[in-house]
Assembly symmetry: C2
Homo-oligomer: 199 residues x 2
């Protein structure tokens, strides 16, 4: 059976279980917390030398890493990922943008403020996160103020990738603009979507 190693509160790990559920794959979950050393064991590092979650293992022993590559892997040949051309490229643009311009600020602020209790200790870093995370939300608003989904292909893994940390952005003390907030509700209302637990 497919096994997912991940941390329940992580948006990146949520992406893995969410796409598996949406595409009808049963899986076994192994709670794996980088903060308590679970990703630094010999056994874990043998699977993923980078010591990061999520990790997905397949029946044949293959190991998948990188949350957005995992999204694309299981979305292949489903409506969650257009099969070629510009429609597919639009989805890929959002996936790369999420990892470069959104997650490093919004996920990091959420972790430092809500899960690590380091709001004062990391004030300088959080100021950068606040500014760049707000910019990322403005980029999303530019699209979502006038459209239902991030691309013209209906709901895709672009929406899942961005939903992951946007629907809990308040835990990083971000104010979500109105078009983004409406989209968060729209994605959350899709059949089979789960949200992250609250602390």
């Amino acid at each position: 059976m497919i096994t997912v190693y991940g941390m329940t509160m992580s948006g990146n790990c949520w992406k893995a279980t969410q796409i598996l559920r949406l595409t009808g794959h049963a899986f076994h979950w192994v709670e794996t917390d980088p903060n308590t050393g679970d990703t630094a064991t010999t056994a874990f590092l043998a699977m993923n030398p980078q010591g990061e979650v999520p990790v997905v293992t397949l029946d044949d022993g293959s190991v998948l890493t990188q949350s957005n590559a995992i999204l694309a892997h299981f979305a292949e040949a489903t409506a969650w990922l257009p099969d070629h051309g510009l429609a597919r490229t639009r989805v890929m643009q959002w996936l790369f943008w999420e990892q470069y311009s959104h997650e490093p600020y919004i996920a990091v602020a959420r972790n430092l403020i809500t899960y690590r209790g380091q709001k004062q200790a990391q004030a300088g870093r959080l100021a950068v996160c606040a500014q760049r995370g707000a910019k990322a939300l403005r980029v999303m608003e530019q699209r979502l103020a006038g459209h239902d989904w991030l691309t013209d292909s209906g709901p895709t893994i672009a929406d899942l990738a961005l939903f992951a940390y946007t629907h809990v952005a308040d835990e990083g003390e971000f104010v979500v603009p109105p078009g983004v907030a409406t989209w968060v509700a729209r994605v959350g209302a899709l059949p089979g979507i789960q949200t992250l637990p609250r602390p």
Copy 2:
């Protein structure tokens, strides 16, 4: 004709022109330097509201952004990108890893040290870049000490994406491990590969 807006010294912009050359697409180049305001003009922001290069425009006016999405777009249906399954996912893993764990440290150190002359002024930030960039090179070495290419599919856009800033990592004062150095020479020797100019 396809038009590429980019900065000659940028590895991300190099990716766009390199894949166009390798896949036989003629293109027109427009030098566009974010450091001198070229990406902040009304005309540029109308194309890419994020004010980033590279931007590629197609004959029908479509605008492509995000260097690794551009690589995948033009590599589709060529030997540079396996068409499905685990082989494709392995390439995608390296593309996402490059943007999250390699480029933010190696490209940024190169820019600050060699192009912005801020080695002293940005000493704190550069210390983080040095540590995390070295870690990224160790991850590459783990694969490349025993393999010719980053994936088992022969040379792909994973190798192009990582070559972009790795072959000029010395400009960020990184020491490239031996397996990575041999791979840099191997990629550079492929037919049609161009290297970035030196300052």
